[in-house]
Amino acid sequence: MARPAPAAPMLDPAILASIGSLELLARGVVEGFLAGLHRAPHLGTSLDFAEHRPYHAGDDVRRVDWRLYGRTDRHYVRLFEAETNADVTLLVDVSRSMDFRGSPDRLTKFDYARFLAASLAYLAATQRDRVGLTTFASEVIETVPPAARHRDTVLRALERATPEPGSGLADAAERTGAALRRRGMVAVIGDFYEPPAQVARAFEALRGRGHDVIAFHVLDPWERRLPELDSTLFEDLETGERRPVDPARAAAAFGRRVDEHVRAISAELLALRVDHVLLDTATPLGVALARWLAHRRAALRRRSAAGRASAGGRGRR
């Protein structure tokens, strides 16, 4: 099983910020991450069985599963993990609330999300998955449909992204789910400053179409625990609303509410069988990549199982 990579220098978000090229950054992250894994870089190059598919003319007859033929009287070809290309779509929140960092020595959530999305795109391409991207704020900003050669397009789109006003996760999820022609994997990266039920509805839109979804919930450390400040006029990055706050007095209630919010979202997503990964901007990207790989593996297994069940059902008929 893939485990979180050690916090290698290249995976430290603060160091990543000094790298100008997103592609270079993603490559550094992914290769550094993979180097820390004990398994082969290309999952599936081992002979791990993945699934069956019907035989087509031209297929290597050596890969026909004869035992299955014996049971079902139909020709099926055995596929291995390396050959199961998945559609991977990255849904990245670029709203203004993401453009925040509590401390100047940390990444903004926006940059963290971009770096994570770039790394995931690079990793997916390495695994020969088809990768696509949707950035959204109050509406969908840019869409790159999943394709085998879209890695650089995705990276360039991430380079271009800037913080935009508003946040419309539900709408973006609905549109993205509807635009994907095949079931695949969707990684949603955002801060989810919406009521948990509303967040859940957004993920329902994706799950309802059969996609395997993972939610990377990115927060700054200050968003979990208020720092000790003098009385401060807080200004909402999304709405511009200003509110005088005494952090010393508000910190406890704030921390409790944030925890409740996170727990509520986690519970809602769990119910939807969506992996919820809580990250703060000081968390090494390797942690997120490891969770992604675990998610991918589980998703592929679910698909294989489903494929076998489907094939078995057809065979029994």
Partner: protein, 689 residues
């Protein structure tokens, strides 16, 4: 030290507000952008701890600046020491013009005026002299020039507001005559007034003697509650079952506060008839229509009044309603005129209802001398002024109070007979053709003929296309209207008791399209009513005006007892037709009891509705200096301009202190701003932690 507006000193309490605010509500020191405020509680105001003042210097600066600002607006002044002014530039001749118009009866205006006047008395130095003059529509010196402050104060205490309007020009002319006769090296005119009116003044500036300093002291700056009955008009209807009159009262809120549900009541011959409630915002006006009443049985006098307010003088308006009379119009047309000749003129007059016009048509040939006997006005419609006996009778008709309206046309050229001298221009020139069509240009909108067209939307006299007119020598006639090329269009001359009007184009459509314009009918009616000096049986006169007794009683009529004028309050005064004009000092209904007349006639006298209002009088335009630009006059104008910039028309009766205080406050604010900026970490109040 005194204050012109001491009530403003209460504003010093305002210093407590910033102190309290800074002690209890303090904006956070820093600003922090944050992704979302959905989990953050607003810091409760009551939870902020009481803080100690950390920077007393800044606090002191701010408080002091506020105090100075308030003090400046309370208009402080230092009374000049006795003789102070006289010692500087020689003795002064001061004329103090004290407004006693009815608007000074509002609230405490007269008391403030007395206080201001005493301030002027206090400035009198050795050798200075002061003449106290009260004025409304007229001006009167209350004694000779003196420095006796006690005597002046005694006279001052006896001054009370009257019911007259305000004429600054009249007062300034009296001041000018007093100063002109004075040998004093320094001349000064001080006007103490409220300097407000219902409408901008149309008075021309008065030229004061060279070197005269004009000072204005405004009183009564505070808001007043003043609902005024601005006008009462009568609308007549019905002839068959007796004439009925409906009273229309125009009520205006001339004060500064809204009026809610104030009663406006109509009283006829002493009996209450109807009452309506009005609600008006300041400056707004409305017209109230009361139920109609009959005047078939004779004239009725009445009053429309509103509930008492701060200014009682304009709370009532009197009127007299008499049965309608008919104005007899004698139209003289060219010989051989067809039936359609003058059709526009006749149709327009036939539509007259208030009054009705009784028309008679004559030609120069059919005209008889006795035709003038019944006429109220004669129209010479494109016919020359008759000569011989007819001309003499026409002239005596005009001089006896009749009206003459002459319109030129194709047959009006040539000379004017000697008998018409003074009624028409000496020379009548050729007809001028305007190929592209001219129009009426400059009009005397203040004249009764055109006053109804003054307001926008009340009739566009300039829309008429004038194709021809006759050029005339203005001579001694007053030009009431000119065409756009400057030539006279309408002229007026008075002769004896009557008047003559001359329209230099046609009254029909031969030379212009005026008869096709909507303004034709009202213009023609007003021309005839003015020419005939027509009154509707209820002539309204203003307080302060005077009336010629000969216009009230028939001169030379045989009577055993003298005619009597009964004034409001039942005061009686004998009327002698050849006597001095009667001054109308009080508002009310005046009654004329003439043994030689069959009936008692009445007329109403009212206060000038334009006296009260919210329009500030332009004090800088009251007086003008010599044409060569006297430096004192220039200084006086500069001061007036400075006052205008300061937003006040008044002046302190001593050394003004407001501007150095204002300057000091400004400097303190500037200093405070600099200090608080150069020490951003320091705030006036201590921190929370």
């Amino acid at each position: 030290m005194g204050f012109l507006a001491p009530a403003i000193l209460a504003g010093c309490l305002a210093v407590a507000v910033p102190i309290w605010l800074h002690l209890t509500r303090r904006p956070p020191d820093r600003r922090q952008a944050f992704p979302s405020l959905m989990f953050l509680d607003e810091a409760p105001l009551h939870a902020t701890r009481r803080r100690s003042i950390r920077d007393p210097l800044l606090l002191a600066l701010r408080v002091l600046a506020i105090v100075l600002l308030v003090a400046a607006f309370s208009r402080p002044y230092l009374p000049l020491p006795s003789g102070g002014r006289g010692e500087v530039g020689g003795v002064r001749e001061v004329v103090l013009l004290l407004d006693r118009s009815y608007s000074m009866g509002a609230a405490d205006r007269m008391a403030e005026a007395r206080t201001a006047a005493r301030g002027i008395f206090a400035e009198l130095g050795e050798g200075d002299r002061l003449t106290l003059v009260t004025f409304d529509g007229a001006a009167r010196a209350l004694g000779p020039a003196t420095r006796d402050v006690a005597a002046l104060s005694a006279v001052l205490d006896s001054v009370a507001p009257g019911e007259g309007g305000t004429s600054y020009a009249t007062a300034l002319r009296l001041a000018e005559s007093i100063l002109s006769a004075s040998p004093g090296p320094r001349r000064e005119v001080v006007i103490v007034s409220d300097f407000v009116a219902g409408a901008p003044s149309a008075e021309a500036p008065v030229a004061l003697p060279e070197g005269t300093l004009l000072r204005t002291l405004a009183v009564g700056a505070g808001p007043i509650d003043d609902l005024a009955v601005a006008d009462v008009s009568l609308r007549r209807a019905g002839f068959a079952a007796g004439e009925r009159v409906r009273v229309l009262a125009r009520v205006r809120n001339s004060g500064h506060v809204p009026v809610e549900g104030r009663a406006v009541a109509l009283t006829l011959d002493g009996a209450p008839v109807a009452s309506e409630a009005v609600s008006l915002e300041p400056g707004a006006a409305t017209t109230i229509e009361f139920p109609a009443f009959s005047v078939a049985s004779g004239p009725a006098s009445g009053v429309v009044r509103v509930d008492a307010d701060d200014l009682p003088a304009n709370d009532r308006r009197y009127f007299v309603a008499e049965p309608r009379r008919v104005l007899d119009v004698l139209i003289v047309e060219p010989d051989g005129s067809g039936p359609r000749r003058g059709i526009h003129l006749r149709r327009a007059l036939e539509l007259g209802r208030s009054p009705r016009f009784a028309l008679r048509r004559r030609t120069p040939r059919s005209l008889r001398a006795e035709d003038f006997r019944e006429a109220g006005v004669v129209i010479l419609d494109e016919v020359p002024f008759p000569e011989g006996e007819k001309g003499a009778r026409l002239r005596s008709f005009v001089e006896g109070g009749g009206g003459l309206l002459t319109a030129f046309g194709d047959r009006s050229g040539g000379g004017v007979p000697e008998v018409a001298r003074g009624l028409l221009p000496a020379g009548v020139g050729r007809a001028v053709s305007r190929a592209e069509g001219g129009s009426l240009g400059r009009l005397e909108y203040g004249h009764p003929v055109f006053s109804a067209f003054r307001d926008p939307g009340s009739g566009d006299l300039g829309a008429a296309r004038i194709e021809r007119y006759r050029r005339v020598d203005e001579g001694g006639m007053r030009v009431l209207a000119r065409f756009d090329d400057g030539s006279p269009a309408l002229l007026e001359a008075e002769a004896g008791l009557g008047r003559s009007l001359l329209w230099t184009s046609t009254l029909g459509d031969a030379w212009n399209d005026l008869p096709l314009q909507p303004v034709y009918l009202p213009l023609l009616h007003r021309l005839l009513l003015h020419a005939a000096a027509w009154n509707d049986g209820s002539p309204e006169r203003l307080v302060g005006s005077s009336v010629d007794p000969s216009s009230l009683v028939a001169p030379g009529a045989p009577r055993e007892d003298p005619a009597v004028l009964v004034l409001p309050g039942n005061t009686r005064r004998e009327l002698d037709a050849g006597g001095a004009p009667v001054s109308l000092e009080r508002a009310g209904v005046y009654e004329i009891r003439d043994p030689a007349a069959a009936d008692v006639s009445r007329f109403a006298v009212n206060v000038d509705a334009e006296e009260a209002g919210a329009t500030a009088v332009d004090t800088a335009a009251l007086a003008s200096g010599p044409a060569d630009g006297d430096p004192d006059v220039a200084r006086q104008e500069d001061e007036a301009e400075a006052e205008a910039l300061a937003g006040a028309a008044d002046r302190e009766p001593g050394r003004a202190l407001w501007w150095p205080l204002l300057l000091a406050a400004g400097v303190l604010f500037l200093l405070e701003s600099v200090l608080s900026n150069v020490r951003p970490g320091r705030s006036m109040i201590g921190g929370t932690r």
